[in-house]
Symmetry: C2
Subunit: 158 residues, 2 copies
């Protein structure tokens, strides 16, 4: 498994995302990479991201799934084009739809691991099924439909 994350190769103008942008000092810094045919990202949420004391906020789990989904889409599209490194701005994706089923309370203070499986890929769309675990237990499952970033976004970012 490479230490390089897909997000490490996003162009600087597109690296400000609160969820996964390396340029966003306040952000979550989700970093997604290949592990065989799956994608994986791990974060340990800060204490402020609580639902109630001791448990992680669902919106944080949704954000992890969201950014791991768009990251996985970039990685999968790059691999489809013959590269392990999604360093082409045309490979940036945005979320068209996000679904999360919360299976169990998510404990605070431990790493959360999101694993993605690419379920569908076309020229314009990637669908990724994602499972989030904490201490080996499934806490959430999600599905991200990611589509190529519209020109309006790229224009704003460029």
């Amino acid at each position: 498994m490479s230490d390089d994350a897909f997000q490490d190769h996003y162009p600087e103008a597109l690296a400000h995302c609160y969820g996964c942008g390396r340029m966003n000092d306040a952000g979550l810094h989700v970093r997604s990479r290949w592990d065989g045919d799956e994608t994986v990202a791990t974060i340990t949420p800060g204490e402020q991201y609580m639902a109630t004391p001791g448990y992680v906020y669902g919106g944080l789990v949704a954000s992890l799934i969201d950014c791991h989904g768009t990251g996985s889409a970039a990685g999968a599209m790059a691999r489809r084009l013959g590269s392990e490194i999604p360093d082409d701005p045309r490979l940036r994706f945005v979320t068209a739809s996000l679904h999360v089923d919360f299976l169990a309370p998510t404990p605070m203070g431990v790493p959360l691991t999101a694993r993605g499986r690419i379920d569908e890929i076309t020229d314009k769309k990637v669908v990724t099924a994602i499972t989030v675990t904490a201490e080996g237990q499934r806490v959430a499952i999600g599905r991200v439909v990611a589509v190529r970033m519209p020109a309006t976004f790229q224009g704003a970012a460029g």
Copy 2:
């Protein structure tokens, strides 16, 4: 439309949520209230919550929908029991599932308004359909299935 928000009446031990807890200094402070038969909440996201410069992060929109969904559930269950004020700890809800369809890029620097319609309510579950608008345009629609908070959460919080 009352200025009181449902979240203003959450017991202190359950008011630490990053999305809507009044005790969470770092949080988003989503505040939901009735407007007739609909629920409404408005936030203006800070600049850090960007997707790309000029546009709001989808995870922030999902978080708004999430907390407005659980807040709407508390309000709807209270009203069903004859009160406008959900100040009973038994009326706390957590998200069982969250779905968001992103319709358009969400502009930064303007208020985002989430409006909820209660689609289903039983003793243990409330389903809320939520539309998020910015400058009068729909940017996202969502659906939150909220269920009574499990005892494990209440124990951790109490």
